[in-house]
Symmetry: C2
Subunit: 157 residues, 2 copies
Amino acid sequence: MAAPPDEFHLERFLPYLVHRVGSRLADGFGVEFDAVGVHLQEWRVLSVLNEYGPQTMGDLARRTSITPATMTRVIGAMETRNLVKRERPVANQRTVFVRMLDDGRAVVAKLIPQVIEYELRISSCFTAAELQIFKSLLSRLFHSITADEEDAGRLAG
Amino acid sequence: MAAPPDEFHLERFLPYLVHRVGSRLADGFGVEFDAVGVHLQEWRVLSVLNEYGPQTMGDLARRTSITPATMTRVIGAMETRNLVKRERPVANQRTVFVRMLDDGRAVVAKLIPQVIEYELRISSCFTAAELQIFKSLLSRLFHSITADEEDAGRLAG
DNA sequence: AAAAAACATTTTCATATGAAAATATTCCAA
DNA sequence: TTGGAATATTTTCATATGAAAATGTTTTTT
């Protein structure tokens, strides 16, 4: 019997660990929204609008990790349902600001308790302290990677 | 000035934190493979084959978080390039086992040092202890979520 | 042992995706 | 002030995706 091909182990490989957790979370998360009639991507947009207020298509794209081309389509669909509204600022007419409308706020208000409950449920395997540490490490990693990409794709506003 | 709409904060919301790290990792990771001529999905397949040996399409799909329909296509493409080989076991002919070929092993051998270097680079924001804790927490969360889904989608082999 | 149910994979088909091109606006340099 | 370079968004178009149907196999009933 030969030795293992390498000293590399998937179960301790950071990108693999993150990817499979991300996939599982997205799967379990998706079903939460069917009832309210929004897609996961739409929740992402609404939650970012809720957190940071009106912002450009580009900022939305960066903050949600959705590409600009897709963001155009997602916002288009949300606009026809009166969840959000596009407006071109007089100051800089090449940007498009997206603003949440009342119907969007109503959806957010309905979803927030659900997602809080969801987070609570999935994090039941952690102590409160562990959860805090975990979030901090995720946050630190994100900012570290993002800084690596240097000035490319800076967030405005 | 009105109070914030809610006591909910995206920057401390676990699914958001995981999703944005996952997206960034996949982005940065993708470019590593262009040189070697494989796609991210193909690395995922090869690394899982490297770790767990020959296995069915279904196991591959679950372990890589790739859907069966897509897995059929990914394996098809890898087969024509002689990275892997399909075989129907006599014992159970409704399954299809996938086995790595020499060309696949050569790709893995080339990629592993690269991905180790990549992991090292992105985790430079952590101490060794933090990194271990982080991985353990990711692992724990995954297994906890997966157990929640109960018996659905069990891994064979 | 035949019929039905369960299982594993592949195919079909309608939709989603993103890279690159097109469009539109603003900034900057001469 | 004008002509490009830079920026922001949208559109086009070729490809990727996954749900559900189709196919083929095994297991369980009866």
